[in-house]
């Protein structure tokens, strides 16, 4: 009897938390499906649309170049992920396994980048990409590079992979040396394959972060055709300022890719958030 009461209380709390967490999105979806004849400000609010329609989605899709936004977001996120995987795993190797002069210095230099947020240095970073001509007013390719390079490596990634490398038994390395492997072979043929789960976690996390990045693209992008999804969505919000059916439909469209990605790769999200904390 005590257990039953306890469970009822627990499930009530859980359902409440679930409604708070996804309620705003469900309400957005509901609005997006309401036809133009239905009053979206109706009191009491109607959750299930009277005549559900795709017309808002179709109209928004026609007026806003979503495919271009999605391609831009994907391109930028993809290269950020690839570069992070390569650069972090390269840097993590000596930090995990080698002794050398200045190791401590490197270690703390990387650590410092965690403590100082991008917002503090964003002005000179902007000047830097201007100087290097890595902006979309120069060329679209340059614009992509300017979106990618400042985020091509991340201290969390380096420490995360260093931790994964530390867990690999020294004997494997020794055996490889006896077999005549050079140091690059050891990195490529032992450390990389054996830390695939950590690399996958880092990839998923980096991708999700890059995909939703707003501040940097909103600073550097000047051409609408170069907009990433979050910048495009914020732009859409301004264009349709009064039309909440369209804004909602646009937001719902933009949510779909990342939601599918998350639901497919959930375990990596969870393990990433866990490891980021536990292993520090």
């Amino acid at each position: 009897m005590i257990n039953l009461t306890k469970n009822i209380v627990l499930y009530t709390i859980l359902i409440f938390l679930m409604i708070i967490s996804i309620g705003p999105f469900l309400w957005l979806i509901s609005t997006a499906f309401k036809s133009s004849t239905e009053n979206i400000f109706q009191y009491p609010p109607v959750f299930i649309p009277e005549n559900p329609t795709f017309s808002n989605f179709i109209d928004v899709w026609k007026q806003i170049p979503f495919p271009a936004y999605i391609v831009n977001s994907f391109t930028v996120s993809f290269f950020i992920v690839i570069l992070n995987l390569i650069l972090s795993s390269l840097a993590a190797y000596p930090l995990a396994r080698m002794t050398f002069k200045g190791k401590n210095f490197f270690f703390h230099a990387v650590l410092a980048t965690i403590m100082i947020p991008f917002q503090v240095i964003m002005i000179p970073v902007y000047l830097m990409v201007l100087r290097l001509n890595l902006v979309d007013s120069y060329s679209n390719i340059a614009g992509y590079i300017g979106l990618v390079l400042p985020f091509a490596v991340n201290a969390f990634g380096i420490f995360f992979l260093r931790q994964a490398f530390l867990a690999i038994p020294k004997e494997l390395e020794e055996a490889a040396i006896i077999d005549g492997c050079n140091v690059f072979d050891i990195w490529l043929k032992i450390f990389i394959p054996l830390t695939k789960p950590a690399l996958a976690t880092l990839a998923v996390f980096t991708f999700a972060g890059a995909w939703s990045e707003f501040l940097w693209p909103s600073i550097v992008l000047t051409k609408q055709e170069m907009y990433t999804l979050p910048v495009g969505l914020n732009h859409l919000q301004g264009v349709f300022s009064a039309n909440w059916r369209y804004i909602a439909a646009g937001a719902v469209i933009s949510i779909i890719p990342i939601l599918v990605f998350f639901l497919m790769l959930q375990k990596y999200f969870i393990s990433g958030a866990m490891q980021g904390a536990v292993k520090e």
Partner: protein, 291 residues
Amino acid sequence: MKNYYKSFTPYLFLIPAGVILIVFFFVPFFETLTLSFKSYGSDIYSPEWTGFNNYIKLINAPIFWKTLINTFVYLVGVVPALVILPLIIAIVVNRKLVGINIFRTAIYIPVVVSIVVAGIAWKWVYADNGILNYFLTFIGLNKMGWLTDPDFAIFSIMFVTVWKGLGYYMVVYLAYLTTVPKDLWEAAEIDGANTLQKHLAVTVPYMMPAITFVTVMSSISAMKVFVEIYVMTQGGPLNSSKTIVYYIYQRAFENLDLGYASSAGVVLLVIIMIISILNIKFLEKGKYPTM
């Protein structure tokens, strides 16, 4: 094992990441410092040294103090909520209930969704004729200007920031909960402790590293809050929800006052440093970070 690599090998591995960090982190970091003593007068390409001018202008700008106070309000409101609520949620979801993974997933969804989408969703919830005001009128209260009342807008946005962070910190705590020895909980129960006493006496001490981590991380992210404000209120009404990063962004990229904005950036940096050090000192007495 003898060194199987040459003395310069470690540096070869560090160079690619090092170049990126130097070009896009360390050089900009030092340039923030120098820029804060410069002014872009007539020529956009060659700023002039103006000494402490930017800082003097900053101190005399009421709007700067306003954004600083708003940032502290944000910090004081958001950090305790993000330290305590996810811990409670983690304890609740850390049991084998039917369907518990569905609840965990739902709570985590705001974390993965872009803050722009989240801002739009909440703007719609907060709308004057929106669903939240309906509930207020339903229980007999007056409607509120959630995002249009200068006394209230910042708190409405703070709620969104907390809401978006709950899932992430919940997972952090869940990871640490596995380190608490189960028999200690059982011992506390046998001693007749109620749920609250049990967790205060057993869980919290074991969770201190996680609590420190969450405090430091949520403090830094509260100090740099920007996008949710940009999407929901643009800093208004009457600058009531404008924080320091918003101010920097505006002065730098809307007014092109790069030197002045950099001096505000330096102030932000100093504050973040002080808060991080205080957090670490008070919570873990120098044990952090231990990477």
